[in-house]
């Protein structure tokens, strides 16, 4: 039971983090369209790291 709640909390946190990453990347791209490629690369890397954490939580909660 508690592990499910913990996993849920971690996924909520990861969701907030992903939203932040996506939103900020959008802002950055809107401000500097010429840096789109670099921003996207960095964005995907951070998103991947965060996603690894979220999936780890899912497997703990299973």
């Amino acid at each position: 039971m508690y592990n499910l709640i913990g996993a849920g909390l971690i996924v909520i946190g990861a969701g907030i983090g992903l939203g932040q990453i996506g939103g900020k990347a959008m802002e950055g791209i809107a401000r500097q369209p010429e840096a789109t490629g670099k921003i996207q690369t960095a964005m995907i890397i951070i998103a991947a790291l965060l996603e690894g954490l979220a999936f780890g939580a899912l497997f703990l909660g299973k």
Partner: protein, 396 residues
């Protein structure tokens, strides 16, 4: 023309292999398998999905219960190779008759084997079936070293052979003309993409050539296996921890072996920070390099692909679980629409995970071979290190 004939021959061979699979329909009259009938309860769906996620000893394409109550299996058996306490034993998986709960016991040269949840046990002495104690350890049997050609191994072999065939063919074409033909035209832009967008910017102009081969191999290996997992053949190779762990260990070995003086110095005795903090940093850096980085690589790929398979199969299972409340047409329509679109997303995920694994491998290798030195970062030549590379190197 010669290449075209060869290609034709090769594809007909592959086609024949799969067609022959349908000739190997097999009936089981095991009472345990017969009692169930259709898969229409939540428990059975759960069991079916978990069974799919695991590796299996036979290549089962589909199975159904006929009107006479017989369980019919379509697929082909695979060789089981066991290293037991008494030497090597080999037999075909068909001898287990698709039994996965230890009821069928196979006897080979005086040794008895039973298969429970895709794990093969060797029975001790006169035992007739495997018995478990409370902690789920077998009391009268033990596990053997299982070197079988399982379904995942078949997947790896097929994709490996296809890659060998496609990429050697692509490489050979450049000897005759500048532009590749056929399937090579699909592969060439991807090869260039991995080289120019992943390998070169992350590893650096000086060293990238040496590592591009590994990165290309790992990229296409993961991508093709992910795509094979979306076909009805039902591979789940990149969703096996053993496979992703092996790939992560390759990356670990490569960046550990090719790490230069600066890399080890920054790991073990970080310059530019107070001496008292240096041992603490060394512990963190060592844990990062040898545990966290490979672990994050392996968990990400494994979890993404497994979760993707679970989601697709759960959505397909909607047509069984919601049959009562939505009606047959409603449940089937809902599951069709949902699983169609989630499968499209999975096609994207298949590429993205291959990209991310390759990207992070390139990044880790790049950090190990980077030649910038923070003590001399602002020397009189201006020291050419691009911003993106520097920033990326810092937060991982």
């Amino acid at each position: 023309m010669k290449v075209a004939t060869q290609t034709f021959k090769f594809y007909s061979l592959v086609l024949m292999l799969f067609v022959s699979a349908f000739a190997m329909a097999e009936n089981t009259t095991d009472p345990v398998q017969n009692s169930g009938g259709q898969v229409d309860t939540k428990d059975k769906v759960d069991a079916y999905i978990l069974h799919h996620i695991q590796d299996s000893h036979d290549f089962s394409l589909f199975s159904y219960t006929s009107d006479e109550g017989e369980r019919k299996h379509f697929g082909f058996p695979l060789p089981i190779i066991l290293w037991t306490s008494n030497g090597l034993r080999t037999f075909m998986s068909s001898e287990f008759h698709h039994n996965d709960d230890g009821h069928v016991v196979v006897e080979k040269n005086g040794l008895k084997f039973a298969k429970i949840h895709s794990k093969i046990y060797e029975l001790d002495g006169a035992a007739a079936s495997v018995a478990f104690d409370e902690t789920h350890h077998a009391t009268n049997a033990h596990k053997v070293l299982d070197l079988s050609i399982t379904k995942s191994v078949v997947g790896v072999l097929i994709i490996g052979l296809l890659m060998l065939f496609w990429f050697t063919g692509l490489a050979r074409q450049y000897k005759k003309r500048q532009v590749p033909t056929g399937f090579g035209r699909v592969l060439e832009p991807l090869v260039l993409y991995v080289r120019d967008e992943i390998s070169r910017p992350n590893i650096g102009e000086k060293h990238y050539r040496k590592f591009t081969g590994y990165l290309l191999t790992v990229f296409f290996f993961i991508w093709f296996l992910n795509l094979a997992g979306l076909t009805p053949l039902g591979f789940n190779v990149t969703g096996q921890v053993a496979v992703t762990a092996c790939l992560a260990i390759f990356t670990l070995i490569i960046y550990t072996v090719s790490g230069n003086k600066d890399y080890w110095m920054h790991m073990l005795w970080m310059p530019g920070v107070p001496v008292l903090i240096r041992p603490v940093l060394a512990i963190i850096e060592l844990a990062g390099a040898f545990i966290i980085k490979p672990f994050s690589l392996l968990v990400r790929l494994f979890a993404n692909i497994s979760a993707g398979h679970i989601v697709v199969m759960s959505l397909i299972a909607i047509m069984f679980t919601l049959k009562e409340s939505l009606g047959v047409v409603g449940a089937t329509g809902l599951s069709l629409v949902l699983s169609f679109f989630i499968t499209l997303i999975e096609v994207l995920v298949a590429f993205l995970q291959a990209y991310i694994f390759t990207m992070l491998s390139a990044l880790f290798i790049g950090m190990a071979v980077a030649e910038h030195d923070h003590d001399h970062a602002h020397d009189e030549q201006g020291h050419e290190v691009s911003d993106a590379e520097d920033v990326r190197g810092d937060f991982i």
